[in-house]
């Protein structure tokens, strides 16, 4: 029998007066894992997190932490702690008092509080800063203090509400790695919500993609990236070229589609059978497209619309001269494509297996 999950949501639903923010969400988070909820703003992820923390109560469904139902339990009685979006460190207290706040509420004696505060600050890599004021810390240090303030209480689940959003890019990249290593060092279950897919992909053991109050897919970063099960996930996780059109031919799971502008594209269906004449969307990752200078078998000729240089992530935007459809392609860093510029002609092709076809239209 598997261990009791640290956090378990069973058909959790939250209705507001005029709309449903969270719609029958069910998931388990096993102990010691890093679970992310990824979704665009307004998808209900913050409401979900606030229900887990206890600031909002679900309309229906159940929420269990270590097997115990948390319905009707206040936020100060739950074994979860939360790192707020803007951290919410108390400016009226110094760092030691901030980190010791939770222990003081539990009535732990002073000398033990001092010891535990120092120990946890040591673990997050900030020894000897108990006397400093919050305003004297840098963004990254504040982040670590906020985590220490929660971890000193040894919660079963740590909730993080987009805590990296306010940091600049360099620090954000650094904190991603640091958060992951802190999580494995404390071996505590982290539930992390974000709208930034790269944060979720880098750090998480499992990611749930949330859209309009529902979980579209739960899986590892790899599964979501290479095997998205819906058009929303395919478009939201990672970059992708998206085409809309009608099916012209079906052969098993291989299909041919014609876009509204008249390009013929080959792809593979994922979830459901499609029929001829049906409206579908096709997603192709920019790195799945092979670029050549000379014409090779099966490659179409394109004109370069522009080159977006961004180091190793440089992109070329190609235009199909016949139909005007645009295609984003990752520029291989082999040197052969260095001199490309607007108006040059190149050839591009991709394996039909790499193009994924989903029924339905629009987003």
């Amino acid at each position: 029998m598997p261990a009791t999950p640290d956090l378990q949501c069973i058909e959790l639903t939250k209705d507001f007066s005029d709309f449903r923010a969270v719609d029958q969400v069910s998931f388990d988070v096993p102990p010691g894992s890093f679970f992310s909820i990824l979704g665009p703003s307004g998808c209900g992820k913050t409401t979900l997190l606030r229900m887990i923390a206890g600031f909002q109560f679900p309309t229906s469904g159940d929420l269990k932490i270590k097997g115990k139902s948390m319905i009707g339990v206040g936020p100060n009685k739950r074994p979860v702690s939360m790192v707020f979006q803007h951290l919410a460190l108390f400016p009226m207290m110094n760092i030691g008092e901030n980190v010791g706040f939770g222990l003081r509420q539990r009535g732990v004696n002073k000398s033990e509080i001092k010891q535990r505060v120092e120990r946890v600050l040591d673990r997050v890599g900030l020894p000897g800063i108990t006397e400093r004021q919050v305003s004297q810390l840098s963004g990254g240090q504040k982040q670590r203090v906020a985590i220490a303030r929660c971890m000193v209480l040894e919660p079963d689940v740590l909730l993080l509400d987009e805590p990296l959003g306010a940091l600049d890019l360099k620090l954000r990249e650094h904190m991603k790695i640091e958060l992951k290593s802190l999580q494995s060092a404390f071996n505590t279950t982290f539930v992390y919500i974000t709208h930034d897919q790269s944060e979720a992909l880098v750090m998480s053991d499992k990611i749930a993609v949330m859209n309009k109050g529902r979980f579209d897919q739960i899986g590892t970063a790899r599964e979501l990236y290479y095997d998205p099960n819906s058009a929303f996930v395919a478009g939201f996780v990672g970059d992708a070229n998206r085409f809309e059109g009608k099916i012209t031919a079906v052969n098993g799971d291989a299909v041919t589609m014609i876009t509204d502008n008249g390009s013929h594209l080959k792809a593979r269906t994922i979830t459901e059978r499609v029929t001829e004449g049906q409206h579908v969307q096709i997603f192709i990752r920019p790195e799945a497209i092979q670029l050549t200078l000379e014409a090779v078998g099966g490659a179409d000729e394109y004109m370069i619309e522009s080159v977006l240089f961004n180091g190793a992530n440089s992109l070329a935007i190609l235009r199909d001269p016949a139909t005007g459809d645009l295609l984003n392609v990752t520029l291989p860093q082999t040197g052969a494509f260095l001199g490309l510029g607007k108006g040059d002609r190149v050839h591009a092709r991709w394996e039909p297996e790499q193009a994924r076809c989903y029924p339905g239209e629009g987003r």
Binding site: A53, G54, F55, G74, P75, N76, K77, V80, S81, M82, F84, Q85, H86, A88, F90, P91, M92, M93, F101, G102, R104, Q105, R106, R149, C150, L153
Partner: protein, 287 residues
């Protein structure tokens, strides 16, 4: 050239404030101070000395009234804070948008009416033949009419009522600036309502509390109308004594000395209050 002109502009803009301070505050005080240290020894004969101040300390009625005024003002301030804080917290934290503006306006509306009229309003409520007394008789809770006016409680009610707005406004401003997530973080870390109030909300609101208290205390200490009207002729208030010296007794020398003692008292208590709450004047008034 330009710097001369901008200097001229600076002094012109400063002029009204300087005129106000020098002509209406500093000069009269210097004048009053000289009046207060001159003793009358004969008809139109004066000597310099501290005799007027000695009169105050030698006459128990004077310094007892003085102490009574101070203690009642401090109690009024404390009561106003206790009553005003929940109201301010409700306006700042529990309401949004339109409701907030409406509630704020409702606190303000009574102040569109003159203080005299408002105080008479309290008299209509509290007097022997007033609404409260009649209601109690009607409900059969008392046998005969009850006089609620002309005691210290009535003065206190009047003072709290006149000054509560000046407590609520700075409190709402400081409480508004407290991020809701601070309070949530407090709960999340296991805090109870009481500990969050004590460790997070009150420390944050301290500048507002102190500035509200200073204003309310000054208003109560210097109030003349409310203690006279609601307290009746037996109720002594230090401003009443000053009035008597100046107008009834025509003893400007003693009146001025009383005025300076009141100034010293209010400054002293505000200073002690700031020290006790570990705030500075610039911090509380600068917001």
């Amino acid at each position: 050239m330009t710097s001369d002109r901008s200097k001229l502009g600076f002094y012109l803009l400063l002029a009204p404030l300087l005129l106000w301070l020098v002509l209406l505050i500093i000069l009269p005080h210097i004048g009053l101070f000289f009046v207060s240290i001159s003793e009358k020894v004969g008809v139109r004969q004066y000597e310099t000395g501290l005799g007027n101040y000695a009169v105050f300390f030698n006459e128990p009625l004077y310094w007892r009234t003085f102490a009574r005024t101070a203690i009642m003002s401090i109690s009024t301030t404390a009561l106003t804070l206790i009553l005003g804080f929940p109201i301010a917290y409700y306006i700042a934290k529990m309401t949004r948008g339109r409701t907030k503006t409406t509630l704020f306006l409702m606190c303000l509306i009574p102040f569109w009416v003159s203080e005299l009229v408002r105080t008479f309003g309290w008299m209509i409520l509290l007097r022997e033949t007033g609404i409260v007394s009649n209601a109690l008789q009607y409900l059969g809770l008392t046998a005969g009419p009850v006089e609620f006016l002309y005691n210290d409680a009535a003065i206190m009610v009047g003072l709290v009522y006149t000054s509560i707005l000046f407590m609520i406004v700075p409190l709402v401003t400081t409480l508004d600036s407290l991020d809701d997530s601070m309070i949530e973080a407090g709960y999340d870390l296991g805090g109870t309502g009481v500990s969050i109030l004590r460790e997070i909300i009150i420390p944050h609101a301290m500048p507002g509390i102190v500035s509200g208290c200073i204003v309310v205390f000054m208003l109560s200490l210097g109030n003349y109308l409310t203690p006279i009207l609601l307290g009746g002729k037996d109720s002594l208030w230090f401003t009443g004594l000053i009035y008597t010296q100046f107008i009834t007794r025509f003893n400007w020398e003693l009146g001025s000395a009383f005025g300076f003692l009141l100034l010293a008292l209010s400054s002293g208590i505000v200073f002690v209050g700031l020290k006790l709450s570990r705030q500075t004047l610039s911090e509380t008034m600068g917001r």
